[in-house]
Amino acid sequence: MIDTGDTAFMLMSAGLVLFMTPGLAFFYGGMVRRKNILSTLMQCFIVMCVVGLQWVLYGYSLAFGPDAGGGVIGTLAWAGLRGVGMEPNPEYAATIPHQAFMIFQAMFAIITPALIVGAFAERIKFSAFLLFTILWSTLVYDPVAHWVWGAGGWMKDLGALDYAGGVVVHITAGMSALVVALLIGRRVGYNRTSFSPHNLPFTVLGGCLLWFGWFGFNAGSALSAGGLAAIAFVNTNIAAAAAGLTWALLDWRMNGAPTLLGAVTGAVAGLVAVTPACGFVGPLSAILIGISVSMICYVVVTRLKPRFGVDDSLDAFGVHAVGGIWGTFATGIFASTAVNPSGADGLLFGGLRLFGVQIFVAAVCITYSMAVTFALYKAIDALVGMRVDREEEILGLDLTQHKEMAYTLLD
């Protein structure tokens, strides 16, 4: 039976998660150069359109539709939302309209490919990006969502815990980002000219929209407005706070000043890491997750990335993959049935199995995402070319891909 409180909660949460994609757009858009902000915003915006449609047409059915067998993929039975209506689907959420669950999940499907934008920013061809996004959603996101969250999904049945998408969202997007960053190559001028963020206030705005929207993402994943939603909400805030502070302090120690970009980056890393864990752990664990993820991501982003010379331009890998992997492991460490009886116990509470499952699941999804992304990249590159010309890159994607400029020059 439909519960109005739960329905109100889920619709508002869906709105919040949708709002994260513009948040991400500004988070990223502020970090690129003036000549590329529109392309970055556009990539995020068009994902809202394209995946928004893909999801109702067939994506939801692939991910959450009746299992096609073996827990590998859903059938097309619910394509075009056939049979997905006002009545609840008790397999997923017994107290809200099925469409409410569907649209909440749609917002996750939207933001995930948008996360990858950070890896190839400032040099990807828009047509190639569009193709990549549609195919990636279909071939990576939808199946993995089915494995982990779909009724009958094999990872779900294995006992993997991913409360709000550490694996499904952040690992898939972040690992694919690494593959694309490696294949597409470094930006023109890498290590020769400055790539300073052209508008940090936009990045801060975006980061704050993400933090705000993440309440819908994590607490909404309880699918009902009760104690678990509250716990997830609280852990989300704690981890963001702990990680944001940690990164700022690391910056202070290493570079002599606590940077704002660092604090915001840290907070996002904290939000990523707590995503899989937020409904299974207590508040002190959330603090530890927040502190540790910032330390790990800090090393990857500021030490390893330059050493390996990978131009993961806006750290889609360094924050989302690394944070998502650590969060998935951390769930296997800190999860407690005392917090959530429908979860399992992590290492800390004597549960070895969960920890093993989490590592296994992460490994499989890492491998799968990277392999499919590699194949997609090669195919699309052969077809239309992934990267713009050198001249176009120098002029900027706003002008060459979209015939627009973000800011007037004389006016």
């Binding site: 300073s196 940077t259 660092g262 500021t302 750290d315």
Partner: protein
């Protein structure tokens, strides 16, 4: 006639304007520039990547004056802009061949003021 170009510290603009007004120089064109000079900038850090801050915000003044005003103008700018620290800026004086007031079409010395 001379065309005086001065590069000064941004926070000295108000004082320079006060000094110029005191010597009856009221007309000028102002713009925002970046200076590369002796003064060291502050290194910026973005996610661990450092950027040597070798371009510093400065303000550029352009003032066309008749010969009689050249030295007073230079002195006024100097008074207003000098702090004694590196980075105070420079004044460049160029010869001005002609000057036209668009509104009236006047030329030469009368058009300058």
């Amino acid at each position: 006639m001379k065309y005086i170009i001065a590069v000064i510290q941004p926070n000295r603009l108000d004082d320079v304007k006060r000094e110029l007004t005191a010597v009856e120089v009221h007309l000028m064109t102002v713009s925002s520039v970046l200076g590369c000079g002796r003064q060291k900038g502050i290194t910026e850090v973005y996610r661990g990547t450092t950027e040597a801050g070798n371009l510093l915000k400065k303000i550029k003044l352009e003032i066309a004056v008749n010969e009689a005003f050249v030295q007073p103008t230079i002195d006024a700018i100097t008074r207003g802009a000098r702090t004694g620290s590196i980075g105070d800026g420079k004044i460049f004086v160029l010869d001005l061949h002609e000057c036209v007031r668009i509104r009236t079409g006047e030329t030469g010395g009368v058009a300058i003021g």
